[in-house]
Amino acid sequence: MKTLEISKNVNLHHHKTEKFNDITLSFRYKNLISNTNRAARTFLTQILNDTCIAYPTKDAVTRCLDTLYGSNYKVLRDTYGKLDVIEFRLSTLNGNVVNEDLLTKQIDVLNEFIYHPRIMNGLFDETLFKEMKERLVLMIQSFHDQPGNHANDQAKRLFNTTQELKALPTIEEIKSCTNEDVVKAYHQLIEDDALDIFVLGNYDEEDVTARIQSKFKFNEKHSILDVLDKNIRENHDEIIEQKAISQTRVVMMFTTNQTMLDESYPAILLANGLFGSFPTSYLFQEVREKRSLCYSISSRIDNYDGLITVQTAIDGKNYEEVKDLILKQLQRIKEGDFDDELLETTKKMNINILRSSIDSQKSCLTLDYREVLFNDSLRIENVIEKLRQCTKEDCINAFKQVEPKLTYCLMQEDHHE
């Protein structure tokens, strides 16, 4: 990846590869979560995805994207540690494949969507704003209608104030969000948010740099250096809520007290693999394979936040047994109750995932962004090398710092002790 600073804190990253038939443009705007209004930013992901001045109707947008052979345009919001990131992504067939210049229009279209939204007299088009509000309310309700989503979101809210900020906005927040709030969030995004632009595919780097510089005008942005978050929670609490469902959801959250910039990063990644992220892991083997207590169980590590989250869906009558089993497996890793063969297998699985990720456009962009946020220290080759060198003791030491902090159970209502 080659990086150029094209304005203060606006960086252009070229990732040239002949592997894909598409060219992807990804504009990632970042600000601190503590500075942003999540409801208004969630609004932006919908409103800036729908229409713009140049393409003011849904059919005009569809027609435009279809002239680019069904180009895929998305606006996404995500959090990375302390960051609230909004990404505009437009993937289009490489013009070389069909002997047409598609790149000029691709850059134009993205410029129209990002810089020319339907704001008139200081407000978003009122009909559009109303429609997006209705859409968001429906989206949030539907999200919570899925028991797995609901349990996860609820666990986040109950964990601590840092995690609560990363949960979806509530329906009340969406309903009380005004058109003015969303316009304010838009101006903050364009004027203040630091920006990273990624170009992925087979193209001429100089040509694309020149096109982007001539098409987009960027103002100077603030720099954001402090990315990683520390999650603190004093006690381990257990919270049980009821819902009229016939399967119980369990979400268990642990603090790792480590981040991806710590020396222990590869070790904690491996130790979590031993604990619950692969079919060979103790959680999968003990809870599913040996006792048939669930269909799926996994432990996901979030190294931006220093958290591990275990999730499963079980019969409510087995809740106590499953909870004990999860904690027992954590203890086994801490005590080094695993052999070198399992450690080697887990290393191989982690390395395979990292290597395969460069064959997917989406994973390429995720890895590129991580490299940008951490100044190359987490380049894939470096991580693979460090994983290879990790010892059993490294994994034990890393996992010794892992502490259970919240057990959230969404209990099926038909279950009675």
Binding site: E18, N21, G70, R135, E341, M349, N352, I353, R355
Partner: protein, 426 residues
């Protein structure tokens, strides 16, 4: 061995083993990943089958899915662990028409995981005890899907639409049918449906394709299989009418979810014509029921539909259907809206410009599938199942005319439909 160049000048090699196993190797020299799929056209709809001597064999619903779970057992214990030791990911899925086993790896060594794929799928090792143990896991899986309102809505709609066709059953069956399944049932179904002559192996790889084909042939040459016996899906004749016109299911949801399922007769025509009908139908519906239609905005603004409005269609030999979904909309008004718009669509048809727009889009989408090794394998197999391969399908799309699309939709009979509603009991 046959060699073929696709639209992007990538080489695709095809061959057949002496035992009938079909092989496809798609060469992707720029990729690090090798993705392989091994599949049989045996899915959840095949729980009853008819032999060539007209014997009807019936098994508990969900047996294809149960079998998929059990094939992961090996002499050494668990196939997943063996793959993990090779640093490769393995998994499988069962759908209505197929069972698919697949792995991917970025390791230099592709031979071991590929041999393992051929070996574990071609060797069922189960005990009474291991079959019993799996029942609890499968029941939790089935319960998980039943708790998801969107998948539940589709299951319930199919149940209301069909009286005899096995699409009325969930892919995994029910906890009851799973508990009734025996070791003997699994062994019988396995011997009937996993013969190499029925199966296909597809690899997308940066490795030398000829060596991959050689490896597969050598693996197959080491094994013996009983004589291949033809067997077909069986079910009693399905009436044209739906079984139930309306069904309400109570779940703990905030938004009412509605699905209208239109039932058509299966398309018992040539494979090519069926695929043509399928695409013509997709395009004409896409031109009317999506944001391509300028009226779409009006429908949203006037609350005729919500942003969750969607539809899907399927046209196969023995069933054909279209489902419309929406959320938070009154079901009666939704029903009237759909019926009115189908009438409008029949009268208006598709324009030349809209058809061109959709052809452009579908070409872009197909080429985008070529970016992902795992996606290529599944899409390639799905096309093979239709009897018209991926590249022939591109030609079918290219040659579709406005008249083809308009005629097809005019001939469709939309009078048989069923409505399912999921809402809160309060």
């Amino acid at each position: 061995m046959n060699k073929l160049k696709n639209t992007l000048n990538e080489m695709i090699y095809t061959d057949t083993c002496d035992n009938g196993l079909k092989i496809v190797v798609w060469h992707k020299p720029d990729f690090a990943t090798t993705a392989c799929l091994f599949a049989t056209p045996y899915g959840s709809l095949d729980s009853s089958q008819k032999t060539s001597d007209n014997q009807i064999l019936s098994f508990p619903e969900g047996i294809a899915h149960f079998l998929e779970h059990k094939l992961f057992e090996s002499e050494e214990g668990d196939v997943m662990n063996e793959y993990s030791a090779l640093g490769a990911n393995v998994n499988a899925f069962t759908s209505y028409n197929e069972t698919v086993y697949y792995f991917d790896t970025s390791d230099e060594d592709v031979d071991k995981p590929l041999n393992l794929l051929l070996d574990f799928v071609q060797d069922l090792r189960i005990t009474e005890q291991s079959v019993e143990k799996e029942k609890g896991i499968i029941c939790q899986e089935l319960n998980m899907y039943l708790e998801m309102p969107d998948s539940r809505l589709i299951f319930e709609t199919f149940k209301s639409m069909y009286k005899n066709h096995p699409i009325k059953n969930d892919i995994g069956g029910t906890c009851d049918s799973v508990n009734k399944t025996t070791k003997q049932d699994l062994e019988t179904c396995y011997s009937l449906n996993y013969h190499p002559q029925k199966m296909t192996l597809i690899a997308v790889t940066p490795k030398n394709p000829e060596m991959i084909i050689q490896l597969i042939k050598e693996n197959q040459a080491r094994k013996t299989f009983p004589e291949f016996k033809e067997i077909k899906r069986y079910f009693d004749k399905e009436p044209n009418e739906v079984l139930l016109q309306e069904k309400i299911i109570h779940m703990d949801v905030q938004n009412q979810k509605t699905c209208i399922g239109f039932k058509f007769s299966g398309l018992n025509q040539t494979d090519l014509n069926r695929v043509k009908t399928d695409w013509a139908f997709r395009f004409i519906f896409e031109s009317h029921f999506t944001t391509m239609n300028p009226d779409y905005q009006k429908w949203i603004t006037n609350h005729k539909i919500s942003p969750y409005f969607d539809y899907e269609s399927e046209f196969s030999k023995d069933y054909a259907l279209t489902l419309f979904f929406d959320e938070g909309i009154n079901e009666k008004e939704f029903e009237q809206f759909i019926l009115d718009e189908i009438q409008t669509l029949k009268e208006k048809g598709i324009s030349k410009e809209a058809l061109m727009q959709l052809k452009n889009r579908s070409l872009g989408e197909t080429l985008s599938v070529f970016n992902q090794p795992d996606n290529i394998t599944v899409q390639y197999f799905r096309h093979e199942l239709t009897g018209v391969n991926m590249f022939e399908t591109i030609d079918v799309i290219k040659n579709l005319t406005v008249e083809d699309c308009n005629e097809i939709v005019k001939e469709m009979d939309f009078s048989n439909y069923s409505i399912s509603i999921i809402k809160s009991a309060q």
